[in-house]
């Protein structure tokens, strides 16, 4: 049991050691995860809006497909992206494989379904009178969307938070498309996987503790944003 206690202490020691390598890893993790979350939100939230609002044939099928894609395994995403950006793939010459960009591409694909489905769920629960009211007051489609976004921001924020959590904790795609190259594409999770492979369980969990601490900080920030948005 004391592996947990040991890990805590190790985590503190690691942090206190001001180890440059550790900070690089943390930095890469945060950079990649926030980029992915940002890009996915940028695509997924408007898509979710469009699907929630428009009535079109096959709408339920589209939602079912999105729900299915919530079960997209990282291996599939990883290999899918791999086929395009590997040297033999059509984007091979761009030399994207084993870069942070590659991880971001993969992670974006992974979480777009999450952002989109939960945006849809959040938006569909919003009283339709908000839409009608904004429109009758002369709002454009975009302005109406902003109103609805404001009203549904807790749900949408939850979607974004979940997506961020998913990618910062994700290991498969980072490993396959990033390659866990020290100093370049090593993230907290790939480092954890490595330590685990090495049998350094305590170090693996210590890194996990650090990851959760960072995620907690990020969430405190989100929380602060939500608090402000409450008016």
């Amino acid at each position: 049991m004391d592996i947990l206690l040991d890990s805590f202490i190790s985590a503190i020691l690691l942090l206190k050691s001001l180890d440059a390598e550790l900070y690089a890893i943390v930095f890469v993790s945060l950079k990649v995860a926030s980029s992915s979350t940002f890009v996915a939100s940028f695509i997924g939230i408007p898509t979710g809006f469009a699907i929630a609002f428009k009535e079109f044939p096959g709408k339920r099928t589209v939602i079912t497909i999105l729900n299915t894609l919530l079960a997209l395994p990282t291996v599939v995403v990883g290999l899918f992206v791999y086929t395009f950006i590997s040297r033999r793939g059509i984007f091979g010459p761009l030399d994207l494989l084993y870069t942070q960009k590659a991880i971001i591409v993969g992670q974006v694909i992974l979480i777009i379904p999450i952002v989109t489905t939960f945006t849809i769920a959040a938006i569909s629960q919003i009283d339709d009178r908000y839409r009608k009211t904004a429109m009758t007051l002369g709002a454009t489609t975009l302005q109406t969307a902003v109103v609805i976004f404001r009203e549904g921001r807790f749900g949408i924020m939850a979607a974004v938070i979940a997506s961020f959590g998913r990618v910062i904790a994700e290991v498969g795609i980072s490993m396959m498309l990033g390659g866990n190259a020290k100093g370049f594409t090593r993230t907290m999770t790939t480092a954890m996987a490595l330590e685990y492979d090495k049998g350094e369980f305590i170090l693996a969990v210590a890194l996990g503790v650090i990851l959760l601490t960072i995620s907690f900080t990020v969430n405190l920030f989100f929380n602060y944003l939500q608090g402000r948005a409450r008016v």
Binding site: R87, G179, A181, D197, G199
Partner: protein
């Protein structure tokens, strides 16, 4: 500069053993060339080479390496080093093979006793070796073929194992460390490379109960080699730098570093190019 960076895919054992953490900084110091390492399963590492994603590979699966070269993916196989495999078993040794020298005979005894054996089952170098040992036992093997389509053509994948899969023979398809852990937890036998075993046995706060029950057979040798990817196949690869790394590894400097790498006081790898390097 950015040009002096090469990429290498390797099996997890070279990285997990800590060897690369010793070698690479020295190499960079000597030549100014940086090596980016991607550690993964042997198969996946070789795929990286075949797809031209890396400049060289560092693996241990001799037969497949030779095929890799004959198919034109690699230029030359540099034999760098070897370590050896050991058969591990629980302290009470239910199959009674402790002290046996012959690896094939030991496995046969395990099979006959139907004592639990944990196989990596992941087509890794270790798994390849294990399959070769089973062939050497002369026991009847079961082959299972899976049809897939590659480049539009049907292809068969073969997986062979002794009878008793799922009874006493457990195939877990995972890395070495996990396989050792599994065997330790389930009190079974397994085949492992010595380096990983040592790390798990004495390198950690809670060691293993598993003990070496069979070692020092010729059959248990485990040779590692590096192969630069063929620039004729993939013109973009940095062949010159990759080849320089390969040659550095088999140079006296590289070989000495390997010979002197000790983990927990034990030598892990024996240099192969210059066996008596110091």
């Amino acid at each position: 500069g950015a040009d002096k960076v090469i990429t290498m895919s390797t099996t997890t054992s070279t990285q997990a053993s800590g060897l690369l953490d010793l070698l690479l900084p020295e190499f960079t110091k000597d030549t100014g060339i940086q090596v980016k390492v991607f550690a993964k399963g042997t198969g996946a590492a070789m795929r990286d080479g075949m797809d031209g994603n890396v400049d060289l590979i560092f693996v241990h699966a001799k037969a497949r390496e030779e095929m890799f070269i004959s198919e034109g993916y690699g230029t030359k196989r540099y034999a760098v080093m070897h370590n050896d495999f050991v058969i591990l078993g629980p302290p009470n040794d239910p199959a009674g093979i402790k002290g046996m020298k012959g690896a094939a005979a030991a496995l046969k005894k395990i099979a006959n006793a139907k004592a639990m054996f944990i196989s990596r089952g992941d087509d890794s170098g270790t798994h390849t070796k294990e399959q070769a040992l089973w062939v050497a036992t002369g026991l009847p093997l079961v082959c299972k073929t899976t049809n897939i389509v590659k480049k539009g053509k049907k292809r068969e994948l073969v997986f062979s194992h002794p009878k008793g899969l799922g009874e006493w023979y457990i195939s877990i398809g995972q890395g070495m460390g996990k396989t050792i852990t599994f065997a330790d937890e389930k009190r079974g036998y397994t085949l492992s490379d010595r380096g990983t075993y040592l790390k798990y046995k004495v390198g950690r706060k809670y060691g293993l109960d598993l003990e070496v029950v069979c070692e020092d057979d010729e059959l248990l040798n485990n040779p590692y080699s590096v192969i630069p990817v063929n620039p004729a196949k993939y013109p973009h690869v940095k062949f010159d730098l990759a080849d320089r790394f390969a040659r550095w590894l088999v140079s006296p400097r590289g070989q000495a570093l390997i010979a002197n790498y000790k983990l927990l006081g034990q030598q892990l790898f024996c240099p192969d190019a210059i066996p008596d390097a110091k």
